[in-house]
């Protein structure tokens, strides 16, 4: 009798975990997308040109076409096509030996139109093939829209936390 109860409790727990894992809320879908984006953008060790190109072409899994970028600190603002993003990612991956992209402190909310607004801290650490080090930290404000079942970045704003 006691054993049956324990098994039933375990079954219920497993069911709840399954619901949580396989039917994530919108917020968890967006968080997972950022986790996946970080893993996609990171690179550890040697990678051939073909492999770099294959990875770069996956940009369409993360960015809308076009995607609007704003970085006040660098005086950049404008729409960037998916081809331009692919070229940029490819160039960066071939130039870097090691690249680690991590997102922290994600805050996700949704507009009445169903778009996701995300604020996060991004930390990019890497080492170039020439030995040059990359160490950048910034605050991002992004908008994501669901297209073909995926949350894609529509706008990316690099917040100017420190203004020289």
């Amino acid at each position: 009798m006691k054993r049956n109860r324990v098994l039933a409790a375990l079954g219920i727990l497993l069911g709840l975990w399954g619901l949580w894992y396989f039917f994530p809320t919108r917020e968890r879908q967006v968080r997972r997308q950022f986790k996946s984006l970080a893993a996609w953008a990171s690179k550890d060790g040697e990678e051939g040109s073909i492999a770099s190109l294959q990875v770069a072409r996956e940009a369409r899994d993360y960015f809308s076409d076009p995607c609007q970028w704003t970085a006040e600190s660098y005086h950049l603002a404008g729409n960037v096509s998916i081809n331009e993003i692919t070229q940029y990612v490819f160039a960066t991956r071939t130039r870097m030996d090691r690249l680690s992209v991590k997102f922290y402190d994600l805050v996700v909310d949704f507009t009445p139109e169903g778009q996701a607004r995300v604020t996060a801290t991004v930390r990019i650490v890497g080492a170039g093939k020439g030995g040059d080090a990359l160490n950048e930290t910034g605050e991002l404000r992004c908008t994501l829209a669901k297209e073909d079942g995926r949350w894609l970045l529509k706008t990316v704003i690099l917040v100017q936390v420190l203004k020289k």
Binding site: D105, T121, R123, N135, E139, V161, L162
Partner: protein
């Protein structure tokens, strides 16, 4: 074995192998809650990454953010503060050098506030930074790292909202 020794042994056994009574779980939950509140919201541990605060704080050094530092007071000039970004998992560690309404300028590595050179004993090494005068906007503070021997373009500094200040390093 004496009676006192037997009591000590029992206590030691109870400490090392506690009986899983409700009181034990309650104690564990209380300790975990207190640790979370204390280390999450009062004294948060952090590891310094980067060289912008050398030689005062070294890359890889360990410290705590004392979040109560500015609960009842405002940051003062030359205080080292922690500045949050989107949250508090990654923060900037910088020194406050100017306040709203003041003018900041670098001339050949010397920092001028409202036209007066600021004495900065914590700055070591050569510095040739030049930055034209600029006024700190209302509600902002101007923060700079101590390492001025690195190129100015690679050093994150500038004015930021004073509401972003979340505390100061404990030592």
């Amino acid at each position: 074995m004496g009676e006192r020794e037997a009591v000590m042994n029992t206590r030691l056994r109870e400490f090392l192998f506690p009986t899983l009574k409700p009181q034990f779980f309650l104690r564990v939950i209380l300790i975990a809650l207190c640790a979370y509140l204390f280390f999450g919201h009062v004294l948060t541990p952090f590891v310094c990454r980067g060289k912008s605060m050398e030689p005062t704080y070294h890359d890889g050094s360990f410290n705590f953010i004392w979040k109560g530092k500015y609960w009842f007071s405002e940051p003062r000039r030359q205080d080292v503060v922690t500045v949050r970004l989107a949250g508090e998992h990654v923060v900037y560690l910088k020194r406050v050098v100017a306040f709203a309404g003041e003018t900041v300028e670098f001339k050949e590595g010397v920092l001028f506030i409202d036209g007066h050179a600021l004495q900065e004993p914590y700055v070591n090494g050569p510095c040739n930074w030049n930055l034209s005068p600029r006024k700190v906007e209302p509600g902002q503070v101007y923060i700079v790292g101590d390492n001025r021997s690195m190129p100015m373009e690679q050093h994150d500094f500038g004015q930021t909202s004073e509401r972003r200040i979340v505390g100061a390093p404990l030592w």
